[in-house]
Amino acid sequence: MARDAQPGADERESRKHLLAFRQGDVDAFETLFRRHQGAVYGWVLRIVRNPATADELTVETFWRVYRAHARFEPAHGFEGWARRIATRAALDWMRGRRAEVELTGELLTDPAAPAVADPAVSAEIRLKTALAFARLPPKLRIAATLAVVEEQSQREVAEALGISLAAVKLRVFRALRLLRKDLERQGIRP
């Protein structure tokens, strides 16, 4: 019986925190931070692919989240809203950096990623592909990273970017077309 009552109590507790956060309550904000920081960090890491930068952008995201507390709509949920802000923070960060600088060694040898490299694809081709991808405009790169590399659903990508499904598809298509052209210029035919 107590178990049955638990979800309702949790829900009430969550709602209480969301409403308090909307009023600017820092304790409620900390509770929400503790609950959602993993999801926000994971999302940002998937975009920027660098743990130190993901730490920095998670902090930036939650700072922006707090700053916007009065505009928060509890009925729409916290995580999707925080994810949208995180995506915007990551996009701003990408726009502020040169592609070559951004592409560090750890991006190519991500410790969290399994060794799935196809032996038919040489390390040089992988490096050139990663560099060509890093040269794409941030708006296209972020859509392709989430939809193609990370295989997130297009609906989730659309929500995070605040655009329509059709716009996600278009951005992914344009990203792939530009990537292909760049690789072809380098003599690589994917």
Partner: protein, 74 residues
């Protein structure tokens, strides 16, 4: 670009940039950094304070006669 080319390009991209696996967690507690950031930002004057200051400076520069009035209200 046909569907086959697109699939090959996607595969190559995933080879070049392996997806992040599992549910990664930050390597440290980020809450102290968030709090520090909130304190730093709240200490900085908001933009409208700067705008008000600029307005006052402009007023004093163009209408020096307004200085006694301002001093009276300070």
């Amino acid at each position: 670009m046909n569907a086959h080319d697109e699939d090959r390009l996607k595969k190559l991209l995933r080879e070049a940039l392996p997806p992040v696996e599992g549910e990664p967690e930050p390597g440290r507690d980020l809450w102290p950094a968030v709090l520090k950031r909130l304190d730093e930002k709240s200490a900085a004057p908001p933009w409208f304070d700067w705008a008000l200051l600029a307005g006052l400076v402009g007023l004093v520069a163009f209408f020096p006669a307004s200085i006694p009035v301002l001093l009276y209200y300070l």
